[in-house]
Symmetry: C2
Subunit: 354 residues, 2 copies
DNA sequence: ATGAAAGCGCTAACAG
DNA sequence: CTGTTAGCGCTTTCAT
């Protein structure tokens, strides 16, 4: 009924506990004969070494456990990222603890505390807002941390992000090149770093042409599908409504697409060309984007690359790399399908220069 | 530089180690004065209790760690499920280890071994094929296990699945009701339980009408997007091609949709009504399904319900429930959009009886 | 090649 | 209320 220990195995094999330890650790200097005896006892009892007890004594190798802390594990972007981190960890014989923060600093702290209390060797974190000085003690105690998706305030550590600003700029430039000038910005909470960056990119695209965005077309703080829909309804009611939309994450893109579909009614004639009432370009790719009518143009990031880069960074730190913190910025890609175009309009500039 | 221990805190606070232990554990019977002294020392040193060491001694409460083992964490279904399990765990002060098996029995074993070696209190597992007798020793040692998505061969434990067979039957019945009779089945590996069930449901729908499926229209073993595309091309080349498709998971659905889109070319006239060359009903909902043309009809399962049900089952086992293993079967829902219909055809039977 | 003793960081079980 | 002793399951160090 109880879990067998090395002591039990030793007794069963008629050797000392220390010999069992050696066999289980593949340590040299045990007679083949004894090894066989012990291994048989191990199998007979179904013995498995207690890794936690081992780590308590032998801290040279760490716990072979890392923690991954994301906003929301269910978000496809983070799910893909977590999976690629998990693959890297598995290759190295590590296990991974995961936790979602929901973007709540308090929950982030709880999760991280629970992880460090279990002596993780390192942490890959999507930081929420606010100072991350609370990580200092853990880091001094030897826990390595790598930030992903956004930098942590007040913490100079390895960080892997994508060039959000550049990606947004490309998206909006694409819309401008296709003759749109009244382009709305629909974004999530402005206090989230990625959203600030994307908004800055939106503005950049206008200034690069000597234009400026109309503040009346800017909506920040859209937290849900529903809020995105509401924002769209609001924009359409304007005396001079936008002709194009830049949506700064997948949830918002989904919301406005849905809203357009509904507003027009299920029986709306779907003419060839461009059945949507407005052009749309969104941040983040979606599985069926290509099959929409018109196919959806998006800025896509590569979550697998983000994850594996972060994991590699973390594992080299764990392996002893003490060089200066690295800031890796990955590129996004504008996937031009058709939702950003205007039927019959000839773009005046290539959307993706060089 | 090194991690402070209780001993360090005791020294800093001028009390015994045991007193620190009491304060850190909120044990009663320590003078408010001493508590304050200790708490200050804790803060000053940035002390955090080593949970692994604690668990070594105090096994009454377990390790407050559970393991979640899925096919592929990046799969939206499992990501959602994992997230809902994580929420339940967090509520109870537990952390969760995750691992992907890739449907490989060997990797499943490695992952599970790594988890049990860390003394997890319980495991939520999406079992791969093959006998799971190897879990017996761990279970006897007190590790509780709950299976999700599919039952484990040779292991009588709590299991949470959805009624795959019923879901598939509904989907195909819907197609039959809309006048289709040449309905192809495109499925993943037949050795996966869910796929066998779904195929059985496909057959059921025919026999319920006194019909039988044409074996020439059945394709098993489609492992990827690409293979699904190939299978579709193959079916279309048949002398008497199908008029409708039942696709038995999201990856396959995506593949055939994509293939149809390409085959018809980007310039295909998108007439109102039903621009797809064949009707399609798929297992698993997709985020943009509603916005396709025609909107995609799917069988949807609720991953969040699956996850929270499994988590609740597991935590009651951990809390001491020793009743007989439960088999929970959740229902699917046929989300009727339009891709399963035939323009102008009047269904001869309600697709969802009662 | 094998074993005995000490101790990792903590808590249970007793003292005072 | 506080401290002492033992020991969780294992590895280190030092014998033999």
């Amino acid at each position: 009924m109880k879990r067998p220990t090395m002591k039990d195995v030793a007794q069963a094999a008629g050797v000392s506990l220390m010999t069992v330890s050696r066999v289980v650790s593949n340590a040299p200097g045990v007679s083949p004969d004894t090894v066989a005896k012990v291994e048989q006892a191990v199998r007979r009892l179904g013995y498995q070494r207690n890794v936690n007890a081992r780590n308590l004594r032998q801290k040279r190798l760490g716990t072979s456990t890392i923690g991954v802390v994301v906003d929301d594990l269910a978000n496809p972007f983070y799910a893909l990222m977590a999976r690629s981190i998990e693959d890297e960890a598995h290759r190295r014989g590590c296990v991974v603890l995961v936790g979602s923060t929901n973007d709540e600093p308090r929950r982030e702290r709880e999760v991280i505390a629970a992880f460090t209390a279990r002596q993780v060797d390192g942490l890959i974190v999507v930081p929420t807002i606010g100072s991350h000085g609370f990580l200092r003690p853990a880091m001094e105690a030897g826990t390595h941390v790598v930030c992903v998706d956004r930098p942590a305030e007040g913490l100079d550590v390895d960080t892997v992000t994508v060039d959000n600003r550049d990606g947004a700029r490309h998206a909006v430039t694409h819309l401008l090149a296709h003759g749109h000038s009244r382009i709305a910005y629909l974004g999530d909470r402005y206090d989230i770093w990625t959203q600030r960056e994307r908004y800055a990119g939106y503005l950049d695209a206008f200034s690069a042409r000597g234009l400026s965005a109309d503040p009346a077309l800017v909506r920040h703080g859209l937290r849900s599908h529903l809020e995105a829909r509401l924002a769209l309804a609001d924009l359409r009611a304007l005396p001079d409504p936008p002709t194009a939309l830049f949506t700064s994450n997948d949830l918002i893109t989904l919301g406005v697409l849905d809203a357009m579909d509904d507003l027009d009614g299920p029986e709306r004639p779907r003419a060839a060309g461009h059945p949507l009432p407005m052009a749309v370009v969104g941040f983040d790719d979606l599985p069926l984007a290509k099959l929409l009518d018109p196919p959806l143009t998006v800025v896509s990031q590569d979550p697998v690359a983000v994850g594996s880069t972060a994991a590699n960074l973390l594992f080299s730190r764990i392996a002893g790399d003490r060089s200066a913190p690295r800031k890796v910025i990955l590129l996004t890609r504008l996937v031009e399908r058709r939702s950003g175009e205007r039927p019959g309009h000839r773009p005046d500039l290539p959307a993706t220069p060089s």
